[in-house]
């Protein structure tokens, strides 16, 4: 599993993501966060693992972890179709702009998120959003749950196969469900 940006030209970074070598580490980070927020993008219905779309994995994860979800693009309807109510829906740029605003008090008005999880946005969109967070919300922690290494995140999984990705997501969900 390599820790180079999935899209090869995305290398212009001096502060690089730490690689998440095991899903348990990601789970520990998420559990440590007080106000995590998960942003799910349009590839959630485009990318499949073991015959299931990414969105199904993310619903399992969100139900288990209780991390609130913001659906971007047209994903809100896809979540609702599957019986999951995201905490909110808005454009990727809309949520991004709120995140870099230190006065924003989160979706519930109770405080700014301290950990942003991203998954399923087009790679280049996610990459640039993470860059925006890195520069303009430097105290914020960010993590990508994709199987594509994102250099601008605080933590990113290395590039991985679909099988490895599915396994990682299932482990993470199981850990929140009380699994060992």
């Amino acid at each position: 599993m390599s820790c180079e940006p999935w899209q090869c030209a995305e290398i212009a970074s001096t502060k690089k993501a730490n690689a998440i070598q095991k899903p348990e580490i990601a789970v520990a980070m998420i559990k440590k966060a007080q106000r995590p927020l998960l942003i799910v993008g349009s590839n959630a219905t485009e990318r499949y693992m073991e015959g299931k779309p990414l969105i199904d994995y993310m619903i399992d994860f969100a139900n288990a972890s209780k991390v609130p979800v913001v659906a971007t693009a047209h994903m809100v309807g896809e979540f609702l179709k599957r019986g999951y109510q995201p905490a909110s829906f808005m454009g990727a740029m809309d949520i991004g702009q709120r995140i870099v605003d230190p006065t924003w008090q989160g979706l519930d008005g109770k405080g700014h998120p301290d950990l942003i999880l991203l998954v399923g946005l087009p790679y280049y969109v996610e990459s640039l959003m993470l860059s925006g967070f890195k520069h303009f919300a430097p105290d914020l922690k960010t993590m990508t749950l994709d199987n594509l290494f994102h250099v601008h995140a605080s933590w990113s999984f290395p590039n991985a196969t679909l099988e490895e990705w599915a396994a990682n997501l299932k482990v993470m969900t199981s850990k929140f469900n009380g699994g060992n």
Partner: protein, 782 residues
Amino acid sequence: MTSKNVRLKIDEMKTPTGLIKNLEVSIGKVVNDNWTEPMGPTPMPSMTALRDWDMKLLNKYKPFYMPDCDLCCLCTFGKCDLTAGKRGACGLDIATQSSRIVMLACAIGAACHTAHSRHLLHSLIEKYGRRYPLNVGGLNIKVEAPVTRLVTGIKPETLGDLDDVLTYTEEQITQVLAVGHTGQEGSNLDFESKALHVGMVDHVGMEVGDIAQISALGYPKADPEAPLVKLGIGSVDRTKPVIMCIGHNVMPSVGIIDYAKETKADDKIEVVGLCCTALDTTRYYSRAKIVGPISWELRFVRAGLADLVVLDEQCIRTDIYEEAAKVGAPVIAASEKNCMGFKNRTNDPADEIVADLVSGKVAGVLILDPEKVGEVAVRVVQKVAPIRKRKTVLPSLEEVTQIAKACTQCSKCQRNCPQDYAIPAAMKAAAQGDLSLLTDLYETCIGCGRCEEACPQKIMIHSLIVKAGEKAMCEENNLCRSGRGAVSDVEIRNVGSPIVLGEIPGIVAIVGCSNYPKGGKDVYDIAREFALRRYIVVLSGCSAMSAGSYRNADGQTLYEEFPGGFEAGGVMNVGSCVANSHIAGAAIKVANIFAKRPLRGNYEEIADYIHNRLGAVGLAWGAYSQKAAAIGAGFWRLGVPVIVGPHGVKYRRMLMGREDKPEDWEVLDARTGDKVNVGPAPEHLFNVAETKEECMVAIAKLCIRPNDTWKGRSIKLSHYVDLSKRYLGVMPNDLHLFVRTKADIPMTMKDEFEKVLAANDWKETIIPDPTLLPRMVRKMKE
């Protein structure tokens, strides 16, 4: 308008009051114009003249930066690491650097259009003279140059008058470029203001170019029934020698067509175009054909369909001469801006140039005289075609399978594909004899060729994709409405009221390039959706081609299905890149002709009017270029929101409102001076839509304006809700922000709205006469 340089010199003169010796008086310009309208406050504005207006916009729509690079490497102090608040050696931080890059991109784009217009104007003045009259729509258009009139205060009447206008744009672009130097501007908002300035200037430059060529070259003049021209690779008669013109500047194509007609070769050859040159070539000669957008370059050349390639300027693949050489097609470079390393043969006899190109002694030549380009091209293509015999570098279908077997599934192709397409899977299937995945890629591939550059096995992946899609490629035979240019004054009068009152729910301008996330069909789908909903749909550039490349269930293209007027449910193609100025021009004309707002040098008031009243949205679904950035910036300064497709995120900066901050949405009621909260209308000035579905909803929402009547708002909200339900699968979650009185609620959605209003503690408000400018308030309260 006429203007002159006047210089008076008196060596010696005796007067009743004394002796005058060596008196010299120089007057820069004597202006003698026939425009009686008094000059407004900001003719030929400098970089800071409209800064206050810019800051009003930038306060509502704050920049959201997403730097593409942590570094600045523009001077030798660097590279400087600007990560997370660090400052570089010159003192810039990452926000300021990001805005500097945005400004420079806009300046490059504006320079490109103005330089294009300057070349056109030089050529046309040389041929037709400075006194050649402007005519963009005959008696139907009295406001012939709305952008120019608004910005410069000049009412141009002849080609020569445009010279003065371009002098202004050239100066402003130079000033803005200077700001990009190390150690100049230190505020990101001031960089943003200058980006807006150069965007405004860009529209002036574009307008000059297009009204000059419309007037002098006999293009359609604001004609809703401009000819339908052939579009698509399948429309090209491959039994004839084919000249393929690429770029944006029509002059070499004009030379080709004129020479072909003079020598009666026009029936013997095909003149086809790619990118905006194609649009302008068909405006000049409706029998020319449009191959397609910029991304069709490689496929057309590699398939061997071009017998001769003529390059003018902008958006040309800079390695196209190498591609042409592989299929034995000579190249003529015809612009100073891209000489391609070829020897300048402008002053050589045509016979010698023709001989050298036909024999293959040289692969290409530089010819900077459009008429000579015409002669050489027409003669060469007829001699080269029988020699080339459609030489192609595409493999046979059998070879595709064999070549694909060399793929090692390393995924470098996918990782270098801007679209992240699953090329390895397609190669794997192809190696097993199944070309269907490669064929699917043909439909959505943007033809950049980065996959091939990355392949360690040196597989010509794009050629395999094109071969797999060859059948579909040869069946691309569609229609595009020839670029009609401006919107007539009559059309503005007809739709001014319903647009401003909101009863025509909006104007959707779908413009620009073809860096689409999932192919051009999205553009067709979006355009058709809004035309069916009786929005006014305006197209230009590569988007105008993509919109014409698909057919409805009855086999009609978009241009056959819908009328070509600036009217509810109309689908009009204004033309090439420089014709985008007519879209801004139409908005300005609504303010001037319908609302009778003074035009001359009165930018701020007109922009305030457009921003608060005109439900217009720009969409650049495949925007890729600096020119697109400049065009967008011109719309931003007018207060018109622009949406880009997901690749537009790489412009690295959005201008976004916050609907959760009510304090950002106050306007003044011009009747009373009261501050009125009008909600997020429009919510953003520049934003990305990640998917087509999101884009559909965003367009409807961004058409909402403070000035909408209750009836207009009700119509707009019904579209917003309907599109949201259809494409997002849910009711919008911000409806309460757009309902001012219960009369705004669409009749058929009353119950749904009531629930939303009740849940959000909604309170009724008034519909103001909205303005952001205190000076527009007629009666300020004590």
